[in-house]
């Protein structure tokens, strides 16, 4: 292939006045405004652009569009790389830097090509059979290094991406003449219409031609108000007519840095029209992957759209009438057509071209040349007849027929049928919500396609019955594109290096199902998703197993139709918007008081308040010690809060909790466990009765939304007879918690009502009170084991009250304390933290609530599951307290407990572990098989190859009588 730039008027997409400079594999080149990277490379005579995935065979440019399997390149911008871009759709930009992938040290001299010598060791599924001895892991690094495509950037992407939602009556995917016709008809009939087109303008496959009808349609579309998204590709159809597309917002691969680069469109449409055209099917012949072998339609498009001849002397290998149009078109552009070798018999050929030697029933036996085409040898396609004939050429064009782009139709659940005449799969009727028009419906007659698309657009807009398409205009093609008795490597899938022999091996080993064929050989995978390979692969499998292509069928097409960048899918969700994070009402106050923030659940909370250069650990130790000896002030605002109200609220809460709540007196509170229907512990908290039919429910900080949703679901789906409202009020109330022996002393000093004193207000009660004009709901409950007050108050008053309490607390020798200190304090007391000490298997009996279950005779969610044999298994993991045998080695959280050294079966694990400042020794909780019956037993804890002996001890570690709770 010796490409060159053709003279005007060829080149409708380029601007010959504007030259662009770019670097390709380190060498400078120039192109023209409007070029793609591929067209610029061809114009510069570059033939070898990459190396193949497995065998590192030299590869060139194969197509002119998004189906490109071989011209895969990395685009480089300083330290940033965009891997695996298809050179055929990359718009050339000034200063662009691009490199070949999967080759070393260069694309011209690639040491990886040695793989070709070992090809017999690397057949389809080789990794299931070879490199097994002595160990796969010995070979794995080398195999992985040798395979693959581009390299991902190691730098963070500093560009921006966004997501946009839209609604439309009709959305048309594809801006060719059929798509444009459907969009115009729909919009003219009053439908809100969006049209998505990959190019910089509408026109599709015909866009480069001087076509008055297309221009008129584009004008009508604008007039009718069709919203046109250019540089956009619809890549997926999802439930309920959701169509997703990506839009490139910058012309070049990178352009300026830190810009809005791509947009993800999520379009909910009443109807979707698929108009994504078709792909050309390649021919199968020996060495059909050499640089200089390419799709015939692509060579035509390069010539006319970009003014680039892909070669000087071309041979066309044909199985389709479209080859004759290409021969005439390229001939007119100045490319010599040496011969047209038609795989079909004379009777099947429905086209004609003047001045070109046509050889029916002929195919290519082999290609001459390695890194570039030097010629080919033709033989009779059926293995009989005349002698082989050699043709000197630098370009071989492959025209195997049409493969309609049925991807969106299939994604939407549509069925396909095989058209024997055209040798193609087409939609078998319309799928729900989506209609195919034009080439992707198998309609290749222009007039018919336009007429059908107009009817479809109008019918969708007006709610009429949508007319079905009748495939036409493709002529006859044979299912098989290869000659009889072909030898050597005939590549079915150029991107994955899958050859006809690999398909044969799959058939031999009984991977006959098309789904097995795909997974065993990898055909149809990777960035091109088999756009040029799928039909040839399944036709070949049919040949080899005596089945028609229709019997072999196709795999299910799944999104994305074209690769979508991770940036587009992520959109704004990076950095501080990575995920929604909740902020405390007094966040600034805490920051001003030295809070070290960390994320706990979805809250940004103070982990501790280090002073004087303290580490987090040292601060937490100091804070925990201060709480035990004096008092601590804690912002408990994230604590989940629900108001449960209604005549049946008490009955409802009895059903939700393991404990009984209906017998709570007004002002009383009780701890409760929440289970799911499998009996698994999912949350815990405290329920306080405010009134006969009004309850205050505390949940865990991270579990409130989950709990509120579960309550609603039970009310709406199961206990529909109960009259109850569940209203989340977490953000309505701030919560300031005082804990420690001096708690009340400080509250009294601030002016809290004397009725809240420990003598007047018992542990596990709630009182409504006030501090000045601030109404309060004060709960005496404790997660530290110390006298504690949880003061709930209107959120806007939180900072002021917190500040007053802290001023008094500081004067009394108190400390602010964060989550880390709280974890130490609750572990010293043996209090569980749901999600830390429990997991998705923990039942209430495992954490010491067996008696509570036995005591409750009424029904509650999860109760029945607790009677299953697995729930009663005496070997279950049970919560225990653990102390290191040496009294000083802290047990690592997450460490496994096992009787013997690994590998062995664990019998538990450490769930919480801290250094207790009060005891001057480590304290830990863990889950242990038969734990409740192993008090005093010595166990072994294993962590990163080390063994630590520990003793099962009785919890709590501090204040077993619980006297400190009362001040």
């Amino acid at each position: 292939m010796s490409g060159r730039r053709l003279a005007a008027p060829r080149g409708s997409r380029i601007d010959r006045e504007r030259t662009l400079s770019f670097l390709w594999n380190g060498r400078p080149y120039t192109g023209l405004q409007g070029d793609t990277l591929a067209s610029a490379l061809v114009a510069n005579g570059v033939q070898l652009v990459g190396r193949s995935f497995k065998y590192h065979r030299p590869r060139g440019i194969f197509s002119c569009g998004l189906e490109e399997p071989t011209a895969i390149v990395d685009l480089i911008d300083g330290r940033h790389r965009t891997p695996n871009a298809r050179a055929t759709v990359v718009e050339l930009a000034e200063g662009m830097v691009a490199e070949s992938v999967n080759c070393w040290p260069s694309v011209g001299f690639d040491l990886g090509a040695v793989n070709g010598w070992f090809a017999p060791l690397l057949p389809a599924g080789f990794y299931y059979k070879t490199f097994k001895w002595p160990n796969w892991h010995l070979f794995e690094p080398m195999v992985r290094r040798m395979a693959g495509l581009g390299r991902a950037s190691l730098e963070a992407d500093d560009d921006r991406y966004e997501e946009v939602c839209a609604e439309a009556d009709v959305v048309v995917a594809g801006g060719g003449i059929a798509g444009l016709s459907a969009a115009v008809a729909a919009a003219q009939a009053g439908a809100g219409t969006i049209l998505i087109t990959a190019g910089t303008a509408t026109g599709g496959a015909l866009g480069w031609r001087d076509d008055g009808e297309l221009d008129a349609l584009a004008a009508k579309a604008a007039q009718a108000g069709v919203r046109i998204l250019t540089r956009s590709v619809a890549f997926g159809v999802y439930d309920h007519n959701l169509l997703c597309a990506t839009e490139r917002l910058t012309g070049g691969p990178r352009g300026p840095r830190g810009v809005l680069r791509e947009r993800l469109w999520k379009i909910r449409a009443r109807s979707i029209v698929s108009a994504q055209g078709s792909f050309e099917r390649p021919m199968l012949f020996t060495d059909n992957d050499r640089p200089g072998v390419m799709l015939a339609g692509a060579a035509d498009e390069y010539a006319h759209a970009y003014g680039v001849a892909c070669g000087r002397r071309a041979v066309i290998a044909a199985n389709s009438d479209s080859a004759y149009q290409v021969a005439a078109s390229l001939g007119a552009a100045g490319v010599e057509i040496v011969a047209l070798l038609d795989r079909r018999a004379h009777a099947d050929i429905g086209a004609h071209v003047d001045g070109v030697r046509v050889l029916p029933n002929t195919g290519i036996d082999k290609v001459l040349g390695t890194s570039a085409v030097r010629g080919c040898v033709a033989v009779a396609a059926d293995g009989h007849g005349s002698r082989p004939e050699r043709f000197d050429c630098d370009l071989i064009l492959s025209a195997g027929g049409h493969a309609p782009a049925v991807h969106l139709h299939s994604q939407a659940g549509g069925r396909l049928r095989w058209l024997a005449d055209g040798a193609m799969f087409v939609p078998d009727g319309a799928a729900p919500g989506i209609v195919s028009v034009g080439g992707c419906a198998g309609v290749f007659s222009r007039d018919t396609a336009v007429a059908h698309a107009l009817d479809v657009g109008r019918a969708l807009a007006l709610g009429f019955t949508v007319p079905s398409a009748t495939p036409c205009g493709a002529g006859r093609s044979l299912a098989s594109t290869r000659i009889a008795d072909a030898r050597g490597k005939q590549f079915v899938d150029l991107q994955n290096d899958v050859a006809a022999g690999d398909v044969g091996l799959a058939a031999l080993e009984n991977y006959r199902s098309v789904e097995h064929l795909k997974r065993y050989t990898t055909t149809g995978m990777a960035t091109d998703q088999g756009k040029t390979s799928n039909v040839n692969a399944l036709v070949l499998m049919g040949e080899l197993t005596g089945r028609e292509p229709a019997e072999v069928g196709t795999t299910k097409f799944r999104p994305p139709f074209v690769p979508a960048s991770l940036g587009a899918l992520v959109g704004r969700r990076v950095g501080r918007l990575y995920r929604p994070l909740k902020h405390l009402p007094a966040a600034e106050w805490h920051a001003a008081h030295g809070a070290l923030y960390e994320q706990f659940g979805n809250w940004n909370r103070p982990a501790a308040y280090p002073v004087g250069g303290e580490t987090l650990h040292a601060a937490a130790q100091r804070e925990a010690r201060t709480v035990r000896r004096s008092l601590g002030v804690f912002d408990g605002s994230p604590l989940g809060k629900l108001e449960v109200w209604g005549p049946d609220a008490a009955e409802f809460l009895d059903l939700m909790y393991v404990g009984t709540m209906s017998n709570l007196a007004r002002g009383q509170a009780r701890y409760g466990l929440l289970l799911n229907e499998n009996g698994i512990v999912v949350d815990d908290g405290i329920v306080a009765r405010l009134d006969d039919h009004h309850f205050w429910v505390n949940t865990t900080s991270a579990g409130v939304e989950r709990t509120a949703s579960a309550f609603e679901e039970w009310l709406q789906c199961e206990y529909t007879n109960l009259r109850v409202f569940v209203t989340p009020v977490t953000s309505r109330y701030g919560n300031v918690t005082l804990s420690g022996p001096k708690s009340w002393e400080v509250m009294a000093a601030v002016g809290f009502d004397a009725g809240l004193s420990p003598g007047s207000m018992k542990h596990m009660t709630m009182r409504e009170s006030a501090l000045g004009d601030v109404p309060l709901r004060v709960l005496r409950a404790s997660f530290t084991g110390e006298l504690s007050y949880e003061i709930n108050l209107p959120v806007d008053a939180t900072t002021a009250v917190l500040d007053r309490l802290w001023t008094a607390a500081a004067a009394a020798g108190g400390a602010l304390y964060g989550i880390e200190a709280l974890e130490i304090l609750r572990t010293e007391k043996g209090y569980i933290h749901i999600g830390t000490d429990t997991d998705g298997t923990t039942l209430p009996g495992d954490i010491g609530f067996g008696r509570a279950i036995g005591a409750k005779t009424a029904n509650f969610v999860g109760r029945r599951s607790l009677l299953r044999p697995a729930a009663l298994d005496p070997q279950r993991f049970q919560l225990v307290a653990l102390s290191p045998a040496d009294g000083r080695t802290q047990l690592p959280t997450g460490a496994q407990i096992a009787a013997s050294d690994p590998p062995t079966t664990p019998e538990g694990h450490v769930t919480s572990s801290f250094w207790s400042p009060e005891l001057g020794a480590p304290v830990a909780l863990g889950m242990l098989a038969r734990g409740s019956s192993r008090l005093g037993e010595r166990i072994r804890v294993h962590h990163l190859g080390e063994r630590i002996d520990a003793i099962v001890v009785k919890a709590p570690f501090i204040d077993p009588a619980g006297s400190r709770l009362h001040g």
Binding site: L577, R732, D796
Partner: protein, 172 residues
């Protein structure tokens, strides 16, 4: 207040909010009709009116078949409403002031902005109140006028929503 690209975004921290919960909207409407002077909003609608007490303007935004939010600039009418239902077994008022924040967005590109925050299906027309996922969190959006909406958001997530809005507007 943020203002850029023809859009203004204003966070109103002073708004008073309450959740009005009821089993039967019609029955409740009759009971508190004198107080509200208007019927409760129908599905996905909002209602503007004035409380009989103090002539304070209010906005009712539909949330679900048994909940609507009451918004006004003064806490007294909400307290009056709460007291009027104190003995009821069919309805209650749960004060949410401070827990729910109100964000007013106005300007020609309001719809463009909302399309970049969440589903187009959740964008209300004037007089509607729709609850949907915006900026990955739950937001109730009330259509106040042709190019003016009110976003009602959980206070804890307000920063997240505001940052998403600012990042989006910066690219307009």
């Amino acid at each position: 207040m943020d203002s850029a690209a023809g859009i203004t975004v204003e966070l109103d921290r002073g708004v008073h909010v309450a959740a009005l919960r009821y089993f039967d909207a019609d029955a409740l409407g009759e009971r508190i009709g004198a107080l509200l002077g208007a019927a409760l909003p129908s599905e996905q609608r909002s209602v503007r009116g004035r409380f009989a007490v103090g002539d304070t303007p209010y906005l009712l935004a539909w949330r679900s078949p048994n909940e609507c939010w009451v918004l006004c600039d003064d806490g007294a009418p909400i307290e009056a409403l709460r007291r009027s239902l104190a003995d009821s077994r069919d309805a209650c008022v749960v004060v949410q002031t401070g827990g729910i924040l109100a964000l007013t967005i106005a300007g020609a590109r309001t719809r463009d902005l909302l399309c970049r925050l969440g589903s187009a299906a959740s964008i209300p027309r004037t007089g509607e109140a729709r609850t949907g996922r915006f900026a990955d969190i739950t937001v109730t959006v009330v259509g106040l006028a042709e190019a003016e909406v009110l976003l009602l958001v959980d206070r804890a997530y307000a920063n997240h929503l505001l940052e998403w809005i600012r990042a989006t507007i910066a690219d307009f």
